[in-house]
């Protein structure tokens, strides 16, 4: 096998690794922005293969379509991800601080979600400003609304009888 054939094989294998690795990383990364970039890298690997096949025009078209296309995709994703009411899932798209390959793992970031996200989610689920609805058969103290129980009984704080949460007009408001 001559040196040029060997070099061609090495180049082919390297480009295959780029194309396959790029598409695998696109699936594995948690960052939408990086997913778009990895897809772009994967297609650039394919463009390199077209160069190797001496199909220059196809290779250049491949670069044009995919760099432009992926950038527009990223643009739409960024625009859709930005929550006008707050920084929705801010950490998921931005915090890539996990060291090394960990940054590409499938696991969600640890730690409590940002407060803004939580309150936005509950406001959405509760339909416009309702306090969280008490589940069926919840008993609470008229004086201490933080006390919750599955069955009737005495309040551990003041000894009053617990009443059904629904019977309190406010639905057991937290009072804070």
């Amino acid at each position: 096998m001559s040196a040029s054939v060997l070099a061609e094989w090495a180049l082919f294998l390297a480009l295959s690794a780029v194309a396959l690795g790029g598409s695998a990383m696109m699936l594995l990364t948690m960052s939408m922005y990086r997913a778009g970039l990895f897809l772009m890298v994967s297609f650039l690997g394919l463009a390199g293969m077209f160069f190797l096949l001496q199909a220059d025009l196809l290779a250049v078209i491949q670069i044009m379509m995919n760099v432009g296309g992926m950038l527009v995709m990223i643009l739409f994703m960024v625009m859709l991800m930005i929550d006008p009411g707050g920084e929705m899932m801010w950490d998921m798209k931005r915090q890539m601080k996990l060291p090394g390959p960990g940054a590409f793992s499938m696991s969600m970031p640890r730690g409590a979600p940002p407060v803004a996200e939580e309150s936005a989610a509950t406001a959405h689920a509760g339909h416009a400003g309702d306090a969280p609805a008490a589940p069926e058969g919840v008993w609470t103290c008229p004086m201490h609304s933080e006390v919750r129980s599955d069955e009737p009984g005495k309040c551990p704080k003041c000894g009053m009888d617990l009443v059904p949460a629904e019977s309190l007009g406010t639905g057991g408001s937290q009072g804070e």
């Binding site: 990086r34 670069i63 643009l75 960024v78 931005r94």
Partner: protein, 315 residues
């Protein structure tokens, strides 16, 4: 790879750096907003700026997307260097492939990716906005630029920059396609992020945009890449519309071909910088609207007119 490849790469980087230096000097002469030395002192002032940036350290913003933030200036320089490979300075020192022109236009795309990555990786609001602007910039200029350079390609029946330059031996394309040159210059102003279309890196609007968080050597690399990009698009403009290495008729023998080429390139650079100085910055929405609703239809008109002229003039 062989030694020839390495030589070519180093040589390309060297003349690209020299070209960018020339752009930096011209910028200091033409754009008063770049405060600093005037007159002959401006010849050395980019050196002192570069030295200052090199000594300034490489600050990182808080919680960046580190890989993207660090790699973006390198991607920018690599893109510009790859695109530089396509420019023919003289008939002998030229890479001739059948699609050089197309190759050049397409390679401006990854530069946008570098800017978008820079803005995104910085993990800040200015950077994020700049990233979005850069991405929408791409579509706005690439279509227009693609149509603006079709005139010379049609007239010379080739996408090779060498063939395009050769086709202008007797008559430069600018003489009978003046609108084409204007459209080309407007669309490259989009592509190189100069005023009036510099919204992704605008200083007074976004505090530097994609470059806001950069400092030190990375900022130097980015600025050099931006200057080199301006130099390159001017060079390609000189090839496609101003006859490349052919001097004006009558005086063509006074200078060698590459000197004519350099002269035309810097003339175009000066023109672009002057236009930038004289025009207020477009808002990003105004810019997109201008690109799609004014420049693109004009490019179609230019294309039709060029086709008719080719049919009428040529046998």
């Amino acid at each position: 790879m062989n030694a020839g490849f390495l030589d070519t790469a180093l040589l390309t980087l060297a003349w690209l750096a020299a070209g960018a230096y020339g752009v930096a000097v011209l910028e200091r002469w033409i754009v008063p907003a770049r405060a600093g030395a005037r007159g002959v002192h401006a010849l050395l002032q980019p050196l002192s700026s570069a030295a200052r940036l090199l000594r300034a350290g490489n600050p990182l913003p808080a919680r960046p997307d580190s890989a993207l933030f660090r790699s973006a200036p390198l991607v920018a320089v690599a893109t510009v260097a790859l695109a530089a490979w396509a420019v023919p300075w003289s008939p002998t020192a030229a890479v001739d492939t059948p699609i050089t022109l197309f190759f050049f236009v397409i390679l401006l795309g990854p530069f946008v990716v570098a800017l978008a990555n820079a803005g995104w990786g910085a993990n800040g609001k200015y950077g994020l906005l700049a990233s979005m602007r850069a991405a929408s910039h791409l579509v706005a200029y690439e279509v227009v630029l693609g149509f603006a350079i079709l005139g010379p390609a049609m007239a010379s029946e080739s996408l090779s920059l060498v063939r395009i330059a050769q086709a202008q031996e007797r008559l430069w394309f600018v003489v009978w396609q003046p609108l084409g040159l204007v459209l080309y210059l407007v669309s490259v102003l989009f592509a190189v992020y100069r005023r009036p279309f510099d919204t992704p890196i605008a200083g007074s609007e976004l505090a530097g945009g994609a470059l806001a968080e950069y400092g030190g050597a990375r900022l130097l690399l980015f600025r050099a890449a931006l200057s080199a990009l301006l130099f390159l698009v001017a060079a390609v403009g000189a090839v496609t519309y101003l006859g490349g290495w052919h001097g004006p008729p009558g005086v063509a023998g006074l200078l060698p071909g590459s000197a004519w080429m350099l002269l035309k390139t810097y003339a175009l650079v000066a023109l672009l910088l002057w236009v930038g100085r004289r025009t207020p910055r477009f808002g990003h929405d105004q810019m997109l609207r201008f690109s799609w609703k004014v420049v693109l239809p004009l490019a179609f008109v230019n294309l039709a007119a060029t086709g008719i002229l080719i049919l009428v003039l040529d046998p």
